[in-house]
Each structure stands twice: as structure tokens, then as C-alpha cells.
Symmetry: C2
Subunit: 146 residues, 2 copies
């Protein structure tokens, strides 16, 4: 299959607020007021969990359909834990990002739990967002002064 | 500093649509109609770029402020490229996720370009979302049948 590209334009409106334009959609990223934001939208780290939940939903349902497994309800409880020291510029051995992301998949299905676990293991490998988290992803950043 | 946790609940509404609840916000994830979605929101892979843009905005501006560097305008052009074969279940040597993410930072500032590049290099390390992409991030997934 051919490669696909995805493009997002993010305009910075303040130290915390960014308006992202993607196709016909506008998405607001912000921080809560307790930490100096204007609380107009979820934080970047929350959007990361949203991206992962959305990707697991699509991939899990796709693989279940491939195997003829019926899923009558499906919910994802996502949790990520990190230490903010590195972001804050405080010397630390901690990494900057989530140390671990846990996903609890709550569902209704007449399939046995082992089958559902197998589907989930396969979804973890085939979901692009989980692949980008589990395996290193190269970033290439350039600056252009206007 | 103490660890922080972030929680998102994602409810699946269809093969492509997920409603994510995070604090007071509801975020819709979907796929375009061309690929079987109902096009009610950005895709998971687009949210991944949004998360990264939002995080680089906050971290870049924070480090610029620490160094007394003024930034009068700031925009991020995010692009990610992937091959959909693995997601589709087609045998392939390609990875499932983005092979590479490119970020073009367009800005107005009276600081020299080298200083801006230095700030950006530091932001790349201190931004939690870029750290979760560049370095491997463990996922722990569990299933609960209701």
C-alpha cells in the first residue's frame, strides 16, 4: 500500500494555548488555570491519551470484525503517570514524558476473555499510535524565522 | 517533584467514533467518510500531531521565557507519514505508526536563529509528548468483561 501523510497546523495564542487546524476541524489545546493556563481545552498529555484511545477503538473493532467477534459495548480508561521535574528544568533522572500508560478496556462480548486478549495484543501491534509510543519515533524539527 | 497522573475515559460509539471525556471536556475522535468513518472529528493520528504541537508550544515558550527571549509569533506545521499496510493486516516490513514526524516552527523573534535552535533542542528533550515519541513508552493493557 502507498504511504499516507497527515498534516496539522498549530497556531500559538499564548504560553499555553494553541489552536490546531486539521482539515475542517479546529482543536484547542490549553492548560488548567492552576498551572497558568486559560483552561479552554485539554492538555497535550491528555490529547496523547485521547489519540491512543481513539486508535485502539478503531483497531480493536477492526480485528474483532475480521475474526467475527461481536463487541456490544466498549470503553477505555486511560491513565498516564509522569514526573514534571524534567519539564520544569529541575535536574532529575526521571524522563520528561509518561513513565507508563495503563489502558483498562471494559467491554461486553460473548467471546471468551482469552480471545479478547488476543485481539487486544494484535491491536496493540497494528494500532499506529501505540506503535509510535512503544517503539522510538524519529522527530525532525526545523526553524524558519519570518 | 511529585508524580502527576492524567486520566481520560473513551467511550466507543462505532467502529471509528470515540467520545473522550477529560475533566469538563468532551473530545470526538473519528475517521473521514472516505475510509468508513462519520467524519465528526480528527483522527487518532491527527490528535497525536496536535498533542505534540501543543506540548512544543508550551515547552518552547517556557524555555524562551527562562532565557529572556521574546517570541512575537509562533506556528507549528506538523506532518507525519506512515504506511497503512500493518494496520490493514497486510504482511509488511513497514511499522504501523508514523515513520517520521516533521515539525516546521515558523516564528517571529529578534533572537538569532542559533539561539532559537538551541531553545528548540532543549524543548524537544523537556516536552513530555516528544519524549514519549522519541523514547520507548511502556503500555500496560488489561481487559475487563462487564
Amino acid at each position: 500500500m502507498k504511504d499516507l501523510s497527515f498534516v496539522v497546523i498549530g497556531k500559538s495564542f499564548s504560553d499555553t494555548k494553541l489552536l490546531a487546524k486539521v482539515r475542517g476541524f479546529t482543536v484547542i489545546v490549553d492548560e488548567p488555570s492552576e498551572i497558568g493556563g486559560s483552561d479552554k481545552g485539554p492538555t497535550p498529555l491528555e490529547y496523547l491519551l485521547i489519540a491512543l484511545a481513539g486508535c485502539l477503538n478503531i483497531t480493536f473493532r477492526k480485528i474483532a470484525a475480521e475474526r467475527g467477534v461481536n463487541i456490544s459495548s466498549l470503553e477505555f480508561v486511560m491513565k498516564g503517570t509522569l514526573n514534571p521535574s524534567k519539564f520544569q528544568g529541575i535536574p532529575t533522572k526521571e524522563r520528561a514524558g509518561y513513565k507508563e500508560i495503563t489502558v483498562l478496556v471494559k467491554l461486553n462480548s460473548d467471546a471468551p476473555k482469552e480471545t479478547l486478549m488476543e485481539i487486544l495484543k494484535e491491536a496493540e501491534k497494528r494500532c499506529p499510535v501505540s506503535d509510535n509510543l512503544i517503539m522510538p519515533t524519529p522527530l525532525k524539527i526545523e526553524v524558519k524565522k519570518l
